[in-house]
Symmetry: C2
DNA sequence: GTCTATAGCAAGATAGAC
DNA sequence: GTCTATCTTGCTATAGAC
């Protein structure tokens, strides 16, 4: 008569507690002992479900991504202009991530480690990475953007890289409400929009081809 | 009759030992106890000279930067073409950094933490950051590159950001001898060269101005 | 100011019993 | 699945020698 999903319940109890403590105290200040105690389980039990403290952060990424996709949907349904779609999707990310800024910056280092499964470039991250790129593909596909046709195929990858750059800026952004990051988006998007438009011009052909080759090299 | 530089010698003994162990075993696997033991000093003494394990890494950065500047000099004396200078300086970085690739990647995370003094954006890093940007200024100044005059002033900053991107790729590069990073440089440099040239054209004026505004926002 | 020895804390992680 | 006990390691503290 044991509950079939008792394990799952314990698992969620642990991660919910951990994410709450992360938000309240920050990553470094949240000890595994504190997580276990607050969740009412033993330290050993917490490690039974999460092999390391970092693994708890992975759960955070997954939840953030789901929230972002939901927040981006209204924009994608409303807008058809490429720049407006891109800007809206990026601002949507800030909307959902803003609440976590203080502690997201603190464990950003974990994602930066090349050997970590939490790296955005790791094999383990490919589900969330693919989803993020797919979102950028939606931005492009549903838009009225007129780009070089070959470039258009690589644009989602490039826009994902741009997003990483913006996130990098965001974690360093100390301005109130991360207003500078919004400013960055509002300046970068029209630039990207213009460059995409220029990609069809004949003078830009060689540049466009170089960019495409570069995008493919970066994808590996 | 005490040696006047006894402290300095001990200091160097400790950091030399640490960097050797980092290279042999990696960062995480090198304990402060092991560094002290190998260097023949006490743990307390090691901490007397280096307040933390991370501070030992900072020494590594400084040495790397000095080596890079030395390796870049012949290129800067030899070449006048902008692309050749940029390519040469970037390859020179790979030449000096290559030996440390395995363990540099391992403690890259330390530099990624926004709050860390080892972050390339931190106030504490400003000496080495300024030096790196100054090196890029040398690349631009001594070259025959014809860029939009206003852009030219911001080019060193932008090239430094480009370098960071290349380093990011490099730490993730698993190809033998990091050959893919060299490929990346060889493809990115002509692209940059072309874009810089195009910046003088009238059609590119608004794009160029956007880029300049962006560069200034990023500098803060 | 330079250095040793040692004891000890905090916290991530593990072992093995139940 | 869950627990308690234990290990490891970055780091600190103290007390003292030269």
């Amino acid at each position: 008569m044991t509950e079939p999903d008792r394990g799952q319940q314990t698992r969620e109890l642990i991660v919910d507690t951990a994410l709450r403590l992360f938000r309240e105290r920050g990553y470094d200040e949240t000890t595994m002992r504190a997580v276990a105690k607050e969740a009412g389980v033993s330290v050993g039990n917490a490690y039974y479900y999460y092999a390391s403290k970092e693994n708890l952060v992975q759960e955070f990424y997954l939840r953030l991504q789901v929230e972002h996709e939901a927040a981006a949907q209204p924009v994608l349904e409303r807008e058809t202009d490429f720049g407006a779609r891109l800007r809206g999707v990026l601002h949507a990310w800030l909307d959902v991530a803003g609440a976590y800024h203080a502690f997201a910056a603190q464990f950003f280092k974990i994602a930066a480690e090349p050997t970590s499964p939490l790296s955005p470039f790791s094999a383990e991250s490919s589900p969330s990475r693919d989803a993020a790129i797919a979102l950028m593909a939606q931005v492009v596909e549903g838009s009225t953007a007129r780009a070089d046709p070959e470039l258009r195929a690589d644009l989602p990858d490039l826009l994902w890289l741009m997003t990483l750059g913006i996130v990098l800026y965001w974690v360093h952004d100390r301005s109130p409400e991360q207003a500078n990051t919004r400013l960055l988006i509002d300046r970068a998007v029209p630039l990207v929009d213009r460059l995409v438009g220029l990609s069809r011009l004949r003078i830009m052909r060689s540049v466009t081809r170089d960019v495409i080759a570069l995008a493919r090299l970066l994808r590996g």
